[in-house]
């Protein structure tokens, strides 16, 4: 006996949300956090006067942005074992997504750092700060304000891109949808249901972005 679509959708809501809460969201959050650290490092290397150092960062960013994320994911999960490095699905996904965010966000952070006027570095210097301290206390807080909108876009893309992890067997929202779809043969219904959940997550993120921007805008003229 065939189950009505409405019942199927309702019954699959829980596993899909579970996939989001236990898979998609932690995957996105941890990859984004690690990715930002990589990105900051790459941005600073890219700004270095040392040609070798900035060259390394430039090459990294170019490779990451010039190759498909899916291929990066497959290189780590399916490629590395052939040179004797077996990485589990979850760590593979986190590594691939972090490296990817690192490449994209590096350019955003670099541009944001460069957007802070030179006089701010000089003011930090004149009150006796080292370059590192000026970066952390004076430059980055101002760069953060400029980079929230583009970094939010990076994060929202990442949330959607985590669905690729289903292809290396990570249990997350989309993989759960695929399994229920295959079992019930209701592909259209399940994939649209998954799409709606992704959409809701992204709407929530956009509103977080809005309030973050407002918070960081408190010290600029309107």
């Amino acid at each position: 006996m065939q189950e009505p679509i409405a019942d199927l959708l309702l019954r699959s809501l829980l596993p899909l949300i579970e996939g989001a809460i236990l898979g998609t969201i932690p995957l996105a959050l941890s990859s984004f956090a690690i990715g930002l650290v990589i990105a900051l490092g790459m941005a600073l290397m890219r700004l270095s006067k040392n040609r070798l150092v900035s060259g390394i960062a430039r090459a990294y960013i170019s490779v990451i942005r010039g190759t498909p994320l899916l291929v990066q994911l497959f290189v780590i999960f399916y490629g590395l074992p052939s040179i004797g490095l077996v990485v589990d699905p979850w760590p593979s996904a986190i590594i691939a997504f972090s490296l990817n965010v690192g490449g994209y966000a590096a350019e955003v952070i670099r541009a944001a750092i460069l957007s802070v006027p030179k006089g701010q570095w000089e003011a930090g210097h004149t009150i006796g700060m080292s370059r590192g301290r000026t970066l952390v206390r004076i430059i980055l807080p101002q760069a953060a304000r400029v980079s929230v909108p583009p970094l939010s876009n990076t994060f929202i893309s990442l949330v959607k891109d985590t669905s690729l992890a289903s292809l290396i067997l990570v249990t997350e929202l989309f993989r759960n949808a695929q399994e229920i779809a295959a079992f019930s043969q209701e592909f259209m219904a399940l994939y649209i249901e998954a799409a709606v959940i992704y959409w809701v997550i992204c709407l929530a993120l956009s509103s977080v972005q809005g309030s973050l921007e407002k918070r960081l805008d408190r010290y600029v003229a309107h």
Partner: protein, 269 residues
Amino acid sequence: MSPTDPIAADPSGADPSPAGQALLTVRGLSKRFGDNEVLKSIDLTVQPGQIVALIGPSGSGKTTVLRSLNGLEVPDAGIADVAGEVHVDFAASPSRAEINALRDRSAMVFQHFNLFPHKTVLENVIEGPVQVQKRSKVDATADALALLARVGLSDKRDAYPFELSGGQQQRVGIVRALALKPQLLLFDEPTSSLDPELVGDVLDVIRELAGEGWTMLIVTHELQFAKQVADQVVFMDGGRVVEHGHPRDVLVSPQHERTRQFLRRLLDR
């Protein structure tokens, strides 16, 4: 009158410090940017408590002199000595630590204020004392509030720079410099980016500081102010000190044709 003439450097004739130790001694300061020789052996002597006005046409190297003393540029040659305690020989490729030791003796007030826009007025002022000089926040705050009160900005302590007028921002810039308790205050055209009606307030603050014994090197186009407040006026042109001495001498009866031309042009504006 030669630029190194010690009498000219101390127009009062009286020796302001018992040991006769100048607060700032600059000799042979030279700097080039590529092919552009911006400073051509600058000599400068500033006695403790003296107010020195640095004047001259745009591009003559005034800003570069201040920036060199504050470690924002590194000259190619020459020496800078503060009170006989810090001595940097730029020809001997000084380390960053040596240059920072020189920098820590002075504080700069910028033409465009360069306040930290993401920090409140009070935070701007205590940033250096707390973060760099490691003074307690309570202490630094008490000092900062006293300084803000003196420049009439007590009620702005929690405002962000964008909420202030240019004149108020520059007074915060001055307080931020004072809070570091430097031996030497460097002002780079502190009123040049202000609307005319706001210039007076900032000059009044500097005038008050002059009365309190601060040693200051001020780049300015405000000749009237220089005449009233400065102990010494230094006229620079083309990277050289053309003449220097008492404001009366340099501004009223200058010896050099270049100085006369410059003053005439400034007065004609």
